[in-house]
């Protein structure tokens, strides 16, 4: 494990910011945390959305599902590993993800639990960006994945 504490904290900060904009349904800022060709896959429903433009369209079409709710993503058990060719600064980051929703009556419920696998790279300014996200929804029928 060659990952320093400073990189660990940088990665955690990345997710803290990314989840604020996701849970705020700020599609523009959320997609900006991916590379231009970044992708999000949900293998359990055979879906892979590729590129910021397709992500924006997909997320916009799903907004009605999130109306009248506060959605929150809760992450745990991060593992950060160097991933890429020699000299590359790519990272493979895996973690648990729990999603909750609260409605106007203050009622909270579980939405889902998943394990997530991200491939990150640095952009030209040195900022972390996600190139590839795979979300494995927890369900005993899909097996346990990461």
């Amino acid at each position: 494990m060659s990952v320093t504490a400073d990189l660990y904290v940088e990665v955690k900060n990345f997710y803290a910011r990314q989840m604020r904009v996701l849970d705020d349904l700020d599609i523009e800022q959320f997609t900006a945390t991916f590379t231009e060709d970044g992708s999000v896959a949900h293998p359990h429903r055979g879906e892979k959305v590729e590129g910021r433009e397709a992500m924006r369209a997909k997320m916009t079409s799903m907004l009605p599902m999130y109306e009248g709710l506060v959605t929150r993503h809760w992450f745990d058990h991060f593992l950060i590993e160097p991933a890429g060719a020699a000299g590359d600064d790519g990272l493979r980051v895996t973690y648990y993800s729990l999603v909750t929703q609260t409605d106007t009556e203050d009622e909270m419920r579980f939405f889902s639990s998943s394990s997530v696998e991200d491939r990150m790279v640095r952009d030209e300014k040195g900022e972390l960006r996600i190139r590839e996200r795979v979300i494995h929804r927890d369900n005993p029928r899909h097996g346990r994945v990461i």
Copy 2:
């Protein structure tokens, strides 16, 4: 982001200790984690409690609500930023907060989910203390805040 990994860990340790004493309903120790003039605000119910003495009185009055339950606070997505004038060592810390409760029958339930904004300073011994806490309860009617 000028916050070092060491400061990150120090802040996380602060919350680990503060939540143990809060969930243990140890009002004396909990209020000691604030400055003498520290405050806790719940804007969604138009409430702001100022000073340790007022906090003690308020919390004591609320103890019956917590009888027969184990309450647990679960935090995530910390962002720690220097906050204050030049030379100041103040911090602004924001995070997600999920609260659960377990009763004598082993039944667990969600109590609430919130985003929290703390202003921290160091006391004369160099220990972190909270000067101002604002708890934004998650509810779509209040909007999403941090």
Copy 3:
């Protein structure tokens, strides 16, 4: 608090890996994260299992309880303290633990919430291993413990 940020991250990585193998029901890999004489105690049910072999037998006997479910452990509020005689590299690690389960119908539920106290040592290769785990199940009848 003499624990460095690097050690903090090393300990968090340990738990990230240990929970993946536990939630994957990989008994062999899970018990390997303990010392050969490692123990797991559940004081609220007066139980203490000692040694990897007894742990394997106990966990194997409990597997049917976890059939058809994805179990996930979510941890928070870690406190890591040096623990042991001078020159020893032992650690005492305490944290909150929330357990959820998801069934084949995508229904999630709370399983339990606990506070956990681990004693860790390094093996001959320098790897962290748990010598003693005590799981305090949250229930107001048991009191609040860590």
